[in-house]
Amino acid sequence: MTSFNSVIFENTFKVFGELCALNNFSLSIPPGCIYGFIGPNGAGKTTAMRLLVGITEPTSGEVQVLGTSDVSQIRHQIGYLPEEKGLYKRMRVLDYIVYLGRLNGMSKLTAASQAKELLNKFDLSQWQRSRCQELSKGMGQKVQLIATLVHDPILLVLDEPFSGLDPVNVELVRDIIFDRVKQNATVILSTHIMEQAETLCDQIVLINKGESIVEGPIEDIRKGNTIKIEHSGECDVFYGIEHVISVKQVGRTATLQVSENADTQEILAQVLPRTRVSLFNTNAVSLHEIFLRAVGSEKKMK
């Protein structure tokens, strides 16, 4: 079973004093995918990432990474980008990347050659002899990312990789991530931006208060029993249509709650003679809504 997944969390608990950062957390991440950790601040995303790169150990339960629970054996196959990105200010950019490459088992020559190639790719070649303190925040983040990639890891763990990046660099990082996945690497990333997760991730886990709330392929999660219709009429045009349970209209947009086995094409056919339809969206549940719904329902329950 373990050979099929890059990462497995199995009934994992991580407790700091009285705070339970991960509460019976279980998860399987298949290889070669982009997996998103989504959740509000303090949900436990970073704790989960630290566990799988071996910075901390679980209080109980098991974490298997690349087929082993002894992370120290496969450290050099993991590339970790922490959320808060610090650099050795007085070190030169190239030296810094080579240093981290060597800590991950590379020879000096290989690390230097790989670092130069990545610096070139990230358009930072002219800065390689500069000291890290001379870089802008965005450039510093790119250097951090290069240091994460330099040893060509097969598992990338990126904690908020897009924070602080301008749109051009966000696109660049996205390309890098897709490129790595094409090379059969597994990418685990955390983000607060749901749109990014929607467009980037193959699978996600929604974490709240240390627990996995929703998990799985993004299409399955977004698949709901709701249809959004933009039309020219009033909400009463939908009365009497088979499988429609309830209708809620705000302005020209109506949200229809339909029964589980409803055929959306049949509903559209019934609607068209009654009103002029400009938008018919069966994939209407956004991650944002799922997130708010999941976190909000927990709050209501309390």
């Binding site: 050099h76 993991i78 922490p82 959320e83 990105k85 610090g86 240093y99 800590l103 088992g105 763990v157």
Partner: protein
């Protein structure tokens, strides 16, 4: 996969290079000992100033002069003679032990030749008698054909301030001109023209109470003056008392000569008496060199101790500061994704230790250079071979012990 020790070495090397590759580091390392020396000199000056401030007179008001009221009309002069002879003996020893500055004076070249051909005590008696006569009669002779002792007495009178400054143990106090006798000594005392005055009673030889010393100064200067004069007065009194008991002075001196144990090693050839030392200038120099070297040997490890103490303290602070910085900037998190916590801390410990050893090596070498080039400037080491002192400072046992204690102390604090 990277080996355990290779990761430690990489971390240590990075920490060492980060510190040691900056200009600021080297400026600090080179200026450190100089700043310590400046602080040392300032503290010495502050101490000196505070001593002077504690006396009733300002520094320029200290006259170094004293007066003697002699009710015996003879003992005061005898004490002055004893002081003069003592100064003369010290000057001759100084001439014997030196081959540099004072030999610029022709008269001293002659004196050195004379001491080679005469017993020192005999020479002292000969010159001393003339000086005493000179002091009383104002004998002046500049003629080269005049006898040596006459010319020497003239030279002596002119050069006394110079000798007072250069000859170790030379009297630092002098009696006011006996011709300027005044009845109101307290006025001289209160105006700072004299530091104090001694009163020798008429029955000084037999009196139980002894004489009196009047001063307004309650500092160590006055005490030094009192002890110094008392020492010569006691010598003169003893001579009179021996005479009164029909014991000749030479016998008395032999009887009163204190015993002493000279420090030596079994195979070392040592001089037997002070007299033999005085008659052989070369032996004297060697003897002094040996004693000076022994003294330095006792103090050489102290330098290492201070460096060790300093290193361990700043080393601990450096590790703490480095670790806190790495943790706050989250670099530690990044490193820990590639290494274990123990590798990171071991690497930091070794890295800081390398930085400290770099500093220590530079300081020890600077100290060695200072001893080598500055040795001859130190009055205590006029003829000591600076190379031998440096060699002693770089004794492998000291260096070995320094390294052992450094590793243990640093590891403990680190």
């Amino acid at each position: 996969m990277i080996s355990y020790f290779h990761a430690i070495w990489l971390i240590a090397k990075r920490d060492w290079l980060e510190a040691a590759s900056t200009k600021l580091f080297w400026v600090g390392v080179l200026l450190g000992p100089i700043l310590v020396m400046i602080l040392f000199v300032i503290s010495m000056l502050a101490t000196t100033i505070s001593i002077f401030e504690s006396t009733p007179f300002a520094e320029d008001e200290v006259s170094n002069q004293y007066a003697v009221i002699d009710h015996t009309n003879s003992l005061g002069q005898e004490i002055a003679d004893a002081i003069l002879l003592s100064d003369l003996q010290k000057t001759i020893r100084y001439v014997q032990n030196r081959e540099n500055d004072l030999y610029n004076f022709e008269i001293l070249t002659e004196l050195a030749e004379l001491t080679e051909n005469h017993e020192v005590e005999e020479l002292v008696d000969m010159i001393g008698d003339t000086l005493l006569v000179s002091a009383r009669t104002g004998l002046v002779s500049l003629d080269d054909s005049a006898p040596f002792v006459d010319r020497f007495s003239f030279w002596w009178e002119a050069m006394t301030p110079f000798l007072r400054e250069h000859v170790t143990g030379f009297s630092q106090y002098w009696e006011t001109d006996p011709n300027e006798v005044t009845t109101d000594w307290d006025v001289l005392l209160s105006t700072g023209q004299i530091d104090g005055y001694f009163v020798i009673p008429s029955d000084f030889i037999d009196a139980e109470e002894g004489g009196k010393f009047f001063t307004l100064d309650d500092s160590y200067r006055a005490l030094t003056l009192q002890n110094w004069y008392t020492q010569f007065a006691s010598e003169v009194l003893r001579k009179h008392r021996f005479d009164a008991s029909d014991i000749d002075f030479e016998t008395a001196r032999r009887l009163m000569r204190p015993s002493r144990f000279e420090r030596s090693t079994p195979n070392e050839q040592t001089s037997d008496t002070v007299a033999s030392l005085l008659t052989s200038p070369v032996d004297t120099i060697e003897h002094i060199n040996e004693s000076v070297i022994e003294e330095i040997a006792q103090y050489a490890p102290v330098g290492y101790q201070y460096i060790l103490w300093f290193m361990v303290l700043i080393g601990s602070a450096m590790i703490l500061a480095g670790t806190v910085e790495e943790k706050s900037t989250r670099i530690a998190e990044l490193i820990l994704s590639s290494t274990t916590a123990s590798q990171l801390m071991d690497g930091k410990l070794i890295g800081v230790a390398l930085v400290l050893l770099t500093i220590a090596s530079v300081w020890i070498c600077m100290l060695g250079v200072l001893i080598f080039f500055g040795g001859s400037l130190i009055a205590m080491l006029p003829t000591v071979n600076a190379g031998s002192v440096v060699g002693m400072f770089f004794n492998p046992i000291y260096i070995f012990n320094f390294l052992i204690y450094f590793v243990l102390g640093f590891d403990f604090y680190g």
